[in-house]
């Protein structure tokens, strides 16, 4: 594909404003197929400033006299202003950015061209498939097996090739259960909680329809789950919709598990927001955060009415409920909503962070995201097509993954020593989910990623993040392994606006960066001192 036809102008002179208290940058502006570049004039910093065009969420142009101004609102919530010499140049650049930033084709996107120094294609792609997780489970229990029934994605296009299912259930039963579940998403293992021997499962809604259809294989599968746990084990089905919404879904062929059909399982409804209302909540919050002139009352009113923090609270408390059912009640938990690709993953991944110390390590967290979001078929391409500034009418966009990151941030705030990664990691994940030079968040599921050969033709974000120079930003120097479950408070008083993300556009980042540096300094000072050997240091200079 040729981008040349979309680029209307080669270059222009421009001045760039990057937000509060950052000095403006003047130089030559250039557009390439994937980037906006500014090469500063000789006396300024020698560094080239670079913006991935895919990161542009909305563009606004204004011309006055013989110059123009372009305001770029980015998907990572930053706002940039370009003052460009020449009206024609301004309009040409604006049009080029508009065209290039909205390209939808995956295989012409930047990750397919990105070839950074020091990274090899194919690295870090094989770290985290379900097979690895299965090995961990198999060490603890024999009740589960790795099934390759979905080898060709025929059972479920949004599942990976291999999934973990009860040993007692054969592949043909899985196929029939898949036909009974939305999107073919039959119940699979998400997490095995070794201390209690209970499991966390996820699925799509059962297709009971108005006739209240049943599926004996699906029932057998869930029976098998309880039998595999321990004699007399109970289970909870956490439906992330309200009872009314679940009932209503029957009219369109969906529904929820009938009590009589699944003995031992008890259904709980915990309605979570999804889809367009969630996207609107995000948009309204970002809008409110951008208004620095409003009164306190207006701000609190908007913070309340956008409901973002309510969603954070509901999500956290539902995840706690799922985790508590497993750890304290010794019950198995199945989570699903309608599709099982959004709020379901939110709950299963958060419950694991609460319960599983391994998932709170740097590697474990990456593995969790790979397994519970990417491989589990969260449609990143659709959900993250636009961020909060886009004027395009939202179709499939929803900040589900951002809601997850916000909840993790809240966990980290309440347990600042228990996560091995810091706020920088969460911010990086948010940035990369919306626009990235890496292939990790491309496409909507494994099947699509295989078709596009993402794994062989792009670099993995995880290898990008494992670069030594990134570590100070991403790691939490305060981390102390905590073998216990971490139970957060989901009371409103304990939750906060994630300022580090939502106020990115309006607040200078320095104070918190300075603090982060200091934390690192204190901790590394200690490590240095601990590591030093009095004998060596004292005797070395001596003859």
């Amino acid at each position: 594909m040729e981008f040349a036809e979309l680029i209307r102008t080669g270059q222009a002179q421009a001045e760039l404003l990057r937000g509060p208290e950052e000095p403006p940058l003047r130089g030559t502006l250039c557009i390439t197929g994937h980037h906006l570049l500014l090469s500063p004039e000789p006396q300024a910093t020698p560094d080239l400033w670079l913006l991935l065009l895919r990161n542009v969420d909305s563009i606004e142009k204004r011309v006055a006299g013989d110059s123009g101004t372009i305001t770029l609102r980015c998907k990572d919530l930053r706002v940039l202003q370009l003052d460009i010499d020449g009206v024609e140049a301004t309009l040409d650049i604006a049009r080029s950015i508009e065209a290039l930033s909205s390209l939808e084709s995956v295989i012409t996107s930047f990750p397919f061209f990105y070839r950074p120094k020091g990274l090899r294609l194919g690295d870090a792609w094989h770290f985290h498939p379900p097979e690895c997780y299965y090995k961990r489970v198999a060490r603890e229990t024999n009740a589960w097996r790795l099934s390759e029934a979905n080898e060709d994605f025929s059972l479920c296009p949004s599942y990976p090739r291999a999934v973990i299912v009860p040993r007692a259930v054969d592949d043909s039963a899985l196929a029939r259960s898949a036909r009974f579940r939305q999107g073919g998403r039959f119940p699979v293992l998400s997490y095995y909680h070794a201390p209690s021997g209970t499991v966390l499962l996820r699925a799509g809604q059962p297709l009971t329809g108005p006739q209240k259809r049943r599926c004996s294989e699906d029932e057998e599968l869930l029976r098998g789950v309880l039998a595999g746990a321990r004699p007399g084990a109970r289970g909870f089905i956490v439906d992330t919709r309200s009872p009314q919404a679940a009932k209503q879904a029957r009219m369109t062929g969906g529904g929820t598990e009938a009590k009589a059909a699944y003995p031992g399982w008890k259904r709980l409804h915990r309605p979570l927001e999804r889809g367009r209302p969630l996207q609107e909540s995000f948009v309204h919050l970002v809008e409110a955060c951008g208004d620095v002139e409003q009164s306190m009352d207006r701000w609190l009113n908007r913070l309340e009415s956008c409901r973002w923090l309510s969603h954070v609270k509901e999500t956290l408390s539902t995840a706690c409920l799922a985790a508590q059912s497993m750890e304290q009640e010794g019950a198995c938990v199945l989570v699903h909503g309608a599709d099982g690709t959004d709020s379901t993953l939110l709950i299963t991944s958060l419950a694991q962070l609460i319960l599983d110390p391994l998932s709170r390590t740097m590697a474990g967290f990456q593995e969790l995201i790979e397994r519970e979001w990417i491989q589990a078929g969260h449609p990143f391409q659709l959900r993250c097509a636009h961020s909060a500034f886009s004027h395009a009418r939202p179709k499939h966009e929803a900040p589900t993954f951002l809601l997850f990151l916000d909840c993790v941030w809240q966990l980290g705030r309440q347990f600042p020593l228990s996560l091995e990664f810091g706020e920088g990691m969460l911010l990086a994940l948010f940035d990369h989910a919306y626009a990235s030079p890496f292939g990790t968040f491309l496409c909507n599921n494994e099947k699509e990623r295989c078709l596009c050969e993402v794994r062989t033709r792009t670099h993995s974000l995880w290898s990008g993040l494992s670069q030594p120079k990134e570590q100070r930003k991403l790691r939490n120097p305060l981390y102390v392994p905590n073998p216990l479950a971490i139970w957060p408070s989901a009371e409103p008083q304990s939750l906060r606006l994630w300022q580090g993300l939502f106020l990115r556009g309006t607040r200078p980042p320095e104070p918190s960066e300075v603090a982060w540096e200091k934390v690192w300094q204190i901790v590394t000072d200690q490590e240095k001192t601990e590591g030093s050997q009095p004998t060596d240091s004292a005797s070395e200079p001596r003859p």
Partner: protein
Amino acid sequence: MEHIRTPKVENVRLVDRISSKKAALGTLYLTATHVIFVETAPDARKETWILHSQIATIEKQATTATGCPLLIRCKNFQLLQLVIPQERDCHDVYISLIRLARPVKYEELYCFSFNPKLDREEREQGWMLIDLSEEYKRMGLPNNYWQLSDMNREYRVCDSYPTELYVPKLATAHIIVGSSKFRSRRRFPALSYYYKDNHASICRSSQPLSGFSARCLEDEQMLQAIRKANPGSDFIYVVDTRPKLNAMANRAAGKGYENEDNYSNIKFQFIGIENIHVMRSSLQKMLEVCELKSPSMSDFLWGLENSGWLRHIKAIMDAGVFIAKAVSEEGASVLVHCSDGWDRTAQVCSVASLLVDPHYRTLQGFMVLIEKDWISFGHKFTHRYGNLDGDPREISPVIDQFLECVWQLMEQFPCAFEFNERFLIHIQHHIYSCQFGNFLCNSQKERQELKIQERTYSLWAYLWKNRADYLNPLFRADHSQTWGILHLPTAPCNFMFWNGMYNRFEKGLQPRQSVTDYLMAVKEETQQLEEELEALEERLEKIQKVQLNRTKVKSKQSEPSKHSGFSTSDNSTANTPQDYSGNVNSFPSRSPSQGDEDSALILTQDNLKSSDPDLSANSDQESGVEDLSCRSPSGGECAPGEDSGRDRDSDEAVFLAA
């Protein structure tokens, strides 16, 4: 004591507010100074101590089948829900506490009976820790423009002002007296802060008695003198911190605000901070929100908005930012007043000083700031914080708001303050506790008459002694970002609800791990390791010197082959106990918890118990929090602390044997 009707009630239940199912059974004691609840659980006799002076309200609720509930709300935001089996006992407790919580004379307050067993000298030293005349010297005063005035000697001009005040050199006695007669309660304009770098100053006063048209030549001259004391600017700002409507209403009562036409070269500015009554009811509303049982996010945010609390906090901050900018950026002096000039004016002057001068962001500087702008300038502590039985309409959380402003600043600038959140919380606690004499009375004059310094102890000395607990490990005195003037973003989305203060006794709502404590422990550990390292290096050097000398001497006498055998035996003699202990004494004992030996106040264990505000907490650690003690420096791992002597001994032995 005659007010205690029943000293002890058994089988009382303390209800947990978060999960009302849980209740601890125990015994309630009333003493002369405290309400004490002791749990009868066999494993841990957990104690909850409440000072009588902390009690804000006591509410007797309708008797139920299980007993008679008694709700005690404290000024430090603790909430105690007790269920007493017998109605009669409950009534007795209620009546006793009503009286105990509202003493009628100063002598009943805790500070007059609180005795940390210090001798007279130590107590006096404690009071001398914070010295305002030193502070004015630090500002660069007196100088060519400002002088110490003795006009208020024996409180002759203004009885709510201190005796030592700085005024412009040009302000003659005649001008001062004239101006004071034209100001509410004779609180004439005096210096609060002087900015050395550009000669701009922050002055404070009360409102002028201008009514609709009155003028006062001396007052006009006074303002002119303030302007002339700053050669860098040809005007001064006059900031009235009240809403315009309130100020105008005051004119009808013969008070009001400066008319720009009458004063030469002033720029007049209103900044709408509401009065003490609005603030009192705002806090009330916010605390009701905090008391809600598992509220939804909307309930909470709506309640927070409706209380107006954060709006008021922002108004105070905005005023502080305005003044800080005027002084530091425009180089213009500012005269601040409200009505009487002892509430809003104190808030605003101290916030502005904090923004401008990094010294006030240090531990000692902050104590000085409170001493100067609040205590010495006659903030009415006894009235505002209800220490004695009095008019409830005088009570208002004025200094609480200031402390919150500081906290909001700390959140925005994590490295700019030498002290941590706990410092603010403990100051708040002691403003109400009446355990120390600092915050007693309504003016310096009253304090002097009551001989506070001879009869009570100073909080500042106590806080200073325990300063290790109050340090912010992230403080960076060296950084330009944090050491200069703080440029505060004041958009409303930067302000937060202060959960750590208003819900501080609800441990379940607080973060379960503390970054501050962890980092302080790490720092302390590092320091101790460094000291050990240093000591070992020193010793090694000594030994090697000795060894070298001996070798030199020896090598002259005998063959080099004997060298090794000799030196090893010599090593053991070098490691004599005397030598070692001498070495130990030469280590500077820098462990901050031990304090400076000279100025240290030694409190007994008993006194510490009642004076530590956190110990009165009803701690509730049910969550899966890993015990941090294993990381703390006194824990096993690196084993410094008291055992360090012995450890060092054995370490050394091993090292020398090697």
